[in-house]
């Protein structure tokens, strides 16, 4: 994938709420916030669980295997940053081991014929700069 990223669309990897996620991606790990009080995952990261209001939140690793819940192929770039990307595929991914979370990502290394609801995908990590690794997903062939 040879896509150009400009600074203003990159994640704030130092944000204290988000740092555990981005730290994980540097180790090739995908982790999500889990509330130990109501025992539910949530997304995005918050100071309090959006379901029960508790602050007892820990980060749990996913195996990074998921399915496409839904998707789109974007043809019109809504920011200058995406002008050399279009058309590109955005999907909402669900994970068996992280119920309740949908992760927004791109589907890569695949033609659009591989992109459909229910398609199984697995995480790959793209290094954007020294510290930023973006998890992307590629379809699992034959599944």
């Amino acid at each position: 994938m040879d896509r150009k990223y400009i600074e203003n669309i990159l994640p704030d990897i130092d944000d204290e709420l988000f740092a555990p996620f981005w730290d994980g991606t540097r180790q090739g790990e995908l982790k999500f916030p889990y509330c130990t009080s109501c025992k539910r995952f949530h997304w995005y990261p918050r100071y309090r669980c959006p379901f029960c209001g508790s602050g007892t939140i820990e980060w749990v690793n996913s195996k990074g295997k998921g399915t496409i819940f839904t998707w789109t192929v974007v043809h019109r770039p809504f920011l200058e940053a995406y002008e050399n990307w279009v058309p590109y595929t955005v999907a909402l991914i669900e994970f068996d081991d992280i119920p309740g979370v949908r992760f927004v990502s791109n589907i890569v290394d695949a033609g659009t014929e591989c992109v459909s609801i229910g398609q199984t995908v697995s995480a790959v990590y793209y290094q954007i700069n020294d510290k930023t690794f973006l998890p992307m997903f590629k379809p699992e062939v034959g599944k």
């Binding site: 704030d12 995005y44 192929v73 809504f78 955005v90 979370v101 609801i117």
Partner: protein, 393 residues
């Protein structure tokens, strides 16, 4: 799942009325500022009501856009009035409509006598349009921007794919939403876009974010609308017949604002819409079958379909067919967006939907008049949802 309700607000039923409406007309490029547009709409609403501007003692608008582009106290100065109550409600169409609820509560409590509300925009002619509105959320900047998940069409396109998958909605059914609302717009004669729309036009319009095409998306507009509310008693001697606020309710969503487009457990449903509609009907003490027409949030064709299901008018399995069969046309079973909605009339966060409902309930809608229109619903979302029920006097 509808949470049990403590308070149906029955006390507010029919206590207040909308007595003045004003609108600039909506265009793509006006070469005018937001303030000029809003002032024109406010002047027209005052004239329509017959109320002297010095009687306005409260200004209530949605809280996301207007407070920065036309602050409440600037409006008071420009009108030469002294307001004693100001309030910003929540964002999006839910916020524009929640001004009616806040206005009714302010008037009923005695905090205000005459409420002015307005919304105006130059999204049509400004760069960036409405998209930048979501830049305020750090999580969206960090977890969505790097993937190009940005711009309202990109939020709603995956919903359309999922709805096609779960409910069997077809491309032609999505098209029928745009086509039928255009028919309403043409009959009404006040819309930004009034060119007849065919299925061929729809299918040849460019893909924006699959499956949504340009003609699935609402217009972007320059324009403004305003309305004036007062008590039932004061409404008696206004210029036009009062339109009573029969029901008004707001509900927040079950998800934080940054997550509401992606993480709702019921991804296609809108729990806030079901809840606010249930509460508004309870306040009005009526059932859905008593609604004669509805003006409904329609940022995209798919948005209208999921709203109609969440409001309870149609079972979700039947929403595509319901619109395709013509039920939402002006002479249909449930006329919807009788001015053409955001898809054709104009995009002003639905204040134009409210103004159109008032016109219908005063029998001022001309060719687009819904026969025997006595009760109308106006419903709109963004992050929460508001449902308003108005009735003619």
């Amino acid at each position: 799942m509808i949470k049990p309700l403590q308070n149906h607000n029955k006390k507010l039923k029919d206590k207040t009325a909308i007595v003045g409406i004003g609108e600039t007309g909506y265009v793509r490029r006006s070469n005018r500022s937001v303030r000029e547009l809003v002032l024109e709409a406010v002047d027209k609403a005052l004239d329509d009501s017959g109320i002297d501007k010095h009687e306005i003692d409260a200004i209530i608008t949605e809280n996301a856009v207007m407070p920065s582009s036309y602050p409440h106290n600037e409006m008071a100065s420009d009108l030469g009035i002294a307001s004693q109550f100001v309030c910003g409600t929540t964002g999006g169409m839910a916020g524009v409509l929640a001004s009616v609820l806040a206005g009714a509560a302010a008037i009923d409590s005695g905090a205000a006598n005459v409420v002015l509300s307005y919304f105006g925009t130059t999204w049509g002619s400004s760069t960036g349009g409405p998209y930048a509105y979501h830049d305020i959320y750090p999580a969206k900047r960090s977890f969505e921007l790097p993937y190009g998940f940005y711009g309202q069409p990109v939020y709603f396109a995956p919903k359309a794919h999922r709805a096609m998958y779960e409910y069997g909605i077809s491309e032609h059914q999505l098209a029928s939403v745009a086509i039928n609302q255009r028919k309403n717009a043409i009959m009404n004669g006040k819309a930004q876009v009034m060119k007849p729309l065919t299925l061929e036009d729809y299918l040849s319009s460019p893909l924006i974010a699959e499956p949504l095409r340009a003609l699935d998306c609402c217009v972007v507009s320059d324009g403004a609308s305003a309305f004036i509310m007062t008590s039932r008693e004061r409404a008696m001697d206004c210029r036009k017949p009062p339109v009573y606020v029969m029901g008004a309710a707001y509900s927040s969503s079950d998800m934080p604002e940054d997550s509401v487009f992606t993480q709702l457990p019921d991804y296609l449903g809108n729990i806030a819409a079901s809840r606010s509609t249930y509460k508004a009907l309870a306040m009005a003490d009526i059932t859905l079958d008593e609604i004669d027409f509805a003006e409904v949030y329609d940022s995209f064709t798919i948005t209208l379909l999921s709203e109609l299901a969440s409001l309870g008018f149609v079972d979700k399995a039947d929403i595509g067919a319901f619109v395709e069969e013509g039920n939402t046309l002006i002479n249909g079973r449930l006329p919807v967006n009788t001015h053409g909605g955001m898809l054709s009339h104009g995009h002003a966060l639905g204040i134009n939907h409210l103004v159109e409902a008032v016109r219908q309930l005063r029998s001022e809608a001309g060719e687009a008049q819904v026969k025997n229109a006595e009760i109308g619903m106006i419903a709109g979302a963004l992050l929460g949802h508001t449902t308003i029920i108005l009735r003619k006097s």
